[in-house]
Amino acid sequence: MTANGALLALRDVVKRFGPVQALGGVDFEVRAGEVVGLVGDNGAGKSTLVKTISGIYEPDEGEFFFDGEPVTIRGPNDASALGIATVYQDLALCDNLDVVANLFLGTELVAAGPPGLARQLNETAMEHRSHELLEQLAVSIPSVRAEVGTMSGGQRQQVAVARSLLGEPKVVLLDEPTAALGVAQTAQVLDLIKRLRERGLGIVVISHNLADVFEVTDRIFVLRLGRAAGDFDVRGTTQEEVVAAITGAEFGGREDDGAAAGDPRERAPQGPR
């Protein structure tokens, strides 16, 4: 049992790609009902860390604890079996399928009957469950039978998040959930993240957008060159401090420098709300 009752805890995780050390001994944890923002410059190791947690990469060193128990994650299936779900940046949805089909993609419900190819999809049960899920999450879409390709980016991102919740996960990893979204759509997705927190999930949000991170997270974990460069409680932290940790500048460095060094997609940092 880890001392503080973390849902998911990583200890001293190292990941190398040949001579490149992408993660150089990182400790990271998420508690239930907590939203952790994972920030850092390009190449800081954010994606590597998330992919290590979701089982896509196997760490070279380090320990994993889930619910206090030591575990090993050797593939995406191990991660999802533990209850770790990942929502990828580029919206892993099929535009040509409707919402129900996307929500249940790969985990379709089938009617009782002869096994094998002939078994009929249980569309009624899937649609019913989709209504329930989207209603619980207060996700607003025109129809669960509408093609996902017909929807706005915000609606699609909400469907992608809802999809990750079908397996009843305990930890949800969100990779740049608001990267491609407009203001109103970003607000929808951030609201959804807050509702997930209320459900007691542990949530990790990767984002380049500090305004979003400050709005939705409880804690901000900064990676820099594959190492932890800061772990801030959102209350009582300014964006300047976080930017300084991201860029490695001395505290008090001008925030414009931080923004310029960041990803081109990054929006200009705003003051804390």
């Binding site: 040509n96 399928l97 089909a101 379709e108 209504h131 209603e135 129809s143 669960v144 509408a146 017909t150």
Partner: protein, 406 residues
């Protein structure tokens, strides 16, 4: 279980909009109602040919038309699966010829039981499809190239299997009967009632299950109209066929495969995965769908259906020769579903399009034969229709994108 409040339930306004005249026009032009578009096009073609030659819509000619399209239609059923995957199979014509040759050689030269010979022919197609699918997925070679190589290789195999004579005449009544059996009228009517009954049971059963689950957003009126249209169409087809030689076995085979493979595509987990892989292979992979298995299965279906189509064609011709499965068969088998709304870009379409497309192409060919036009004109007109259909598909796609609907 309760009905769901508007939060997640389909908004009635949106549905009403979809059903309003402008909504219907939009769905018609943007491809949601692609099959209706094709039916209208087919009606126009029929009217034009009927005006030119009043034998076109006679029972004899319509029966001939149905017999002419069975082989192409069966091959197209498999092609639809490959197109849904976003791939192409250029070998289906050659495979159909080779499979028929394998059947013919085993039956005629080696005296195999006709049913065993047919099964061996079909399995030849399945094996070829599996092999091509495996090459495509294992080495990541574009399916276009793998199946183009197949096209050449299987044409060569056809010549090799046929041997020096180059032609094998089919005499076994079990095999020739496939395309030359006609059922008496009573059997036709029973068949019609069974089809209508099964369709009604399926539709109403689905509607009742949805209503029991509190999902009754389908209008009963719409269901009844659809049921009536289907019943009228089935009865009309059987009436026409009965007034000539009767319902042909070949047509039953075609319709059974179209309906069965439509069920697989639309109602089963495998079919859903085919659409998913064709729509967004990466999303399907992340959803733990074994996309390469789905792809190989799709090519196996294409090979199998090509073989079945080839066997029907041989049965109709009463022979297998060196040009079996050659000529324009391949291109027509691919053009048919595309004309009838199955996208070349993957993820959109239906198995019905195999039947509809074969009907369109078959009608054009049949009608121009009646008008005694030269084959030069036939090819050019068919090409123009294919081009028009693909342009309509591309425009529908552009409009969807313009409307933010990828």
């Amino acid at each position: 279980m309760t009905a769901h409040p508007p939060a997640a339930a389909p908004a009635p306004d949106a549905l009403a909009l979809e059903r309003s005249p402008p909504g219907l026009v939009r769905r018609f032009t943007q491809g949601d109602l692609a099959s209706l578009r094709v039916v209208v096009g087919l009606a126009v073609i029929w009217i034009i040919f009927e005006i030119q030659n009043d034998r076109f819509l006679s029972a004899v000619n319509l029966t001939n038309l149905m017999l002419q399209i069975t082989a192409t239609g069966l091959i197209s059923v498999g092609v639809v699966y490959v197109l849904l995957l976003g791939e192409i199979d250029l070998s289906v014509g050659a495979v159909s010829g080779l499979a028929a040759a394998v059947m013919a050689v085993l039956n005629v030269k080696h005296g195999w039981n006709p049913y065993l010979a047919i099964v061996a022919g079909v399995l030849t197609g399945t094996a070829i499809g599996l092999a091509q699918g495996a090459l495509f997925t294992r080495f990541g070679i574009p399916s276009f190239v793998v199946t183009l190589a197949g096209l050449l290789a299987w044409q060569g195999a056809l010549l090799y299997v046929l041997g020096e004579t180059g032609t094998i005449n089919l005499t076994d009544p079990k095999i020739t009967g496939l395309a030359n059996t006609f059922y008496p009228p009573a059997v036709g009517w029973v068949f019609a009632l069974v089809v209508i009954g099964a369709y009604a049971a399926g539709t109403l059963g689905g509607w009742r299950r949805r209503r029991a689950a509190g999902l009754a957003d389908q209008q009963v009126g719409g269901l009844v109209v659809r049921l009536a249209v289907v019943a009228a169409a089935v009865l009309a087809v059987v009436a026409i066929l009965n007034s000539d030689r009767g319902v042909p076995l070949a047509v039953l085979i075609l319709i059974a495969f179209v309906a069965g493979m439509q069920y697989v595509a639309g109602r089963t987990r495998f079919g859903r995965h085919v659409f998913a892989v064709g729509g967004n292979a990466e999303a399907a992979r992340r959803a733990a769908i074994r996309i390469n298995r789905v792809r190989v299965a799709g090519f196996a279906i294409a090979g199998s259906m090509a073989a079945i189509g080839g066997i029907l064609a041989a049965s109709r011709l009463l022979a297998v020769n060196q040009s079996s499965g050659g000529s324009d068969l391949l291109l027509l088998a691919i053009a048919g579903p595309v004309i009838a709304g199955t996208s070349l870009f993957g993820g959109r379409g239906s198995v019905w399009s195999a039947l509809l497309g074969a009907l369109v192409i078959g009608s054009i060919s049949n009608g121009m034969d009646l008008l005694a036009l030269e084959s030069s004109v036939k090819f050019m007109v068919t090409g123009a229709v294919l081009l028009a259909a693909v342009i309509i598909d591309a425009i529908a796609r552009q409009q969807r994108q313009a409307a933010g609907r990828v």
